[in-house]
């Protein structure tokens, strides 16, 4: 231990200055860990930055949702049904131009809902469509997607190998479909405060008991995130340098943190249950719904329906 301290202090630029390991920025990874520069960094810092990422995106989402814009003014139930309907339409479309047109439509909706365009583009394209574009590259070759070769590259046992029209088309199709789908979901979530989104789920025949559980779970995620931050921050405060090379010990720490978290969560669920019972909870959920469906909602739903018909009709005209 004292060795580590000595080494760390000798690496520091000057006595009194902030040590280098403290100011180094960790690159944020997606929660899935499947793209981005796989920087080999401390699991503690990665988890901490993941936690702050969740908090940031939740807070920012609520800020945007409370702005005044087109989609923000639509009743959440109508909005959910309409946008998910368009999502379904995007899943059925078979031509790239149709999908590109739909994607352009989502950009118009984003601007109309006063979402900053640059932010919207970044939020959508990072990281799922870009990731999709990378993993789909090999599918353009004739050995994965056979078809009409448009760009022969080499021959293998007398057979030409190269990019096929079908492969390129398939890659374009999946990237544009993924981008359109993600845009529609981001539009929905960014323009609806989560409480309203939750209440709006009832329009999709989600039972009330589920809505209640989802709402509580969402609420307690943020409470328990505090515990996680505390445990990881205190771990970071106790350690010097990075934790690389200590895989076993690191895994033990993560498991113990998760186990302790489960213990806390379980005690919490008992306390919440007793608090609920003492306030008269008897096992059934009641919600106050004050949603209104006015002319604006009817117009919006009709517009989405018309868009769906036009998109599907146009797609049929394009063939396939």
């Amino acid at each position: 231990m004292s060795d580590a301290i000595l080494r760390a202090s000798s690496a520091a630029p000057a006595p009194g200055a902030t040590p280098r390991w403290l100011v180094n920025n960790e690159m944020g990874l997606c929660p899935c860990g499947c793209i981005g520069k796989r920087k080999k960094g401390s699991f503690v810092e990665k988890t901490l930055s993941g936690v702050s990422g969740v908090l940031r995106s939740a807070m920012f989402g609520d800020d945007v949702a409370s702005m005044d814009g087109f989609l923000q003014r639509i009743d959440p139930r109508v909005k959910i049904v309409s946008l998910l309907g368009l999502l379904l339409v995007a899943a059925f479309v078979r031509n790239i131009p149709t999908l590109v047109a739909m994607y352009a439509g989502t950009l118009v909706l984003a601007v109309a809902s006063s979402l900053p365009l640059g932010f919207f583009l970044k939020r959508v394209w990072f990281f799922i469509p870009i990731f999709t574009g990378i993993i789909v590259l090999p599918a353009m070759f004739s050995f994965i997607t056979p078809g009409d070769i448009v760009l022969p590259l080499w021959t293998w046992h007398g057979h030409p190998v190269g990019l096929t029209a079908q492969g390129i088309e398939a890659a374009g199709l999946i990237v544009s479909r993924v981008a359109t789908s993600v845009s529609l979901v981001v539009l929905l979530t960014l323009t609806t405060p989560w409480t309203k989104l939750l209440a709006g789920l009832r329009a999709l025949f989600v039972p009330r008991i589920f809505i209640l559980i989802i709402g509580m779970a969402y609420r307690y995620i943020f409470l328990l995130l505090n515990s996680v931050t505390d445990m990881y921050a205190s771990r970071k405060a106790r350690s010097v340098g990075n934790d690389q090379g200590e895989v076993k010990e690191g895994q033990r720490f993560v498991a113990a943190t998760a186990g302790a978290l489960f213990g806390k969560a379980h005690v919490l669920s008992d306390e919440v249950h007793m608090a609920m019972v003492s306030r008269g909870y008897r096992g059934d959920a009641k919600t106050i719904s004050r949603f209104t469906v006015g002319a604006r909602e009817v117009l919006f739903a009709a517009g989405c329906l018309a868009a769906a018909v036009v998109v599907l009709g146009g797609d049929r005209l394009l063939g396939r």
Partner: protein
Amino acid sequence: MHIPDGYLSPATCGVLTAAMVPAWWMAVRRVGRVVKSRFVPLLAIGAAFSFLVMMFNVPVPDGTTAHAVGGTIIAILLGPWAAVIAVSIALLIQALFFGDGGVLAFGANAFNMALVLPFVGYWVYKAVAGRVPLTSGRRALAAGIGGYVGINVAALCAAIEFGLQPTLFHAADGTPLYAPFHLAQTIPAMMFAHLTVAGLAEFAVTAGIVTYLQRANVPILRINHPDIPVTEAELEVRKKLGWGWAIVPIVVMIALSPLGLIAPGGAFGEDAPADLDLSKYHLSAVPEGLQRFSSFWSHTLLGDYGFASGDHPVIGYLISAVVGILIIGAVIVGIVALIRLFQTDRDSPSDGGPDDAERVVA
């Protein structure tokens, strides 16, 4: 393993969502019956825990990190049906609020990670752990193996879902409409990643959490294992009263069965119609119904506990005994398996009540 929208055809998503609806319905019924009004907060916090476990970065040997799904550990702690709901809700929150995993593909993601993963992991865990005490090392190892197998089977499901897309859904000229890779590519790609990195992370987290709880918070482990003893000593006491002793009289009876060979006469009330003493019952003929039904089935394998030819009566009798014991044993094992399958209370968390809470705090 979170599948985004656009990778799977609407038909695939529809089928998998349809498969999840009865699972969700069953899970709500099973869990609701056992935990009653505690159901809502317990599952809400289970879902929050599931969401957070997916955020934990786990260090793995090459110096990088991976993250676990945690379906198996929730199945071990709260029961597999509770895990179905908790992981489903965590996935829904990820898809709706944080854009991780598709909305149309939610049913497919739930099928892989909230149904297949916890159940496979839990079954493997149960099979490996057997009835060893709660604090034994084998139980932690079983949890780790369950987590490893569970996440790999779930990844295999996802790989199959991807791999079927180009075969099932393509345009007339062969252009794949959704994910373009075939089974021959998706299965090796997914399985390589999960058999090595992701599986190890799941193993470490699942086994590590159980080890930690064995050391620091055994009452949590008791929630879903109410009748498993905590220590080896407790197990010894229970063994003496256990089922094993029922075997002794059965073995004695099996050993005595050749006695039938030296018993004279026939069994009481089992005479064939021809052997009946009709005058004893004041009858002049064998009743018509008895005559008809006593011989309507004659295709027995070992009629009269011997071979059809009547040779070697002793060997025939003994073979009949062995065959009979085996058939009855198989039927009993089958019935027990069926009862286990439909038995509710053992798979779901106990109601616990206030004293349960106290034990957890203590």
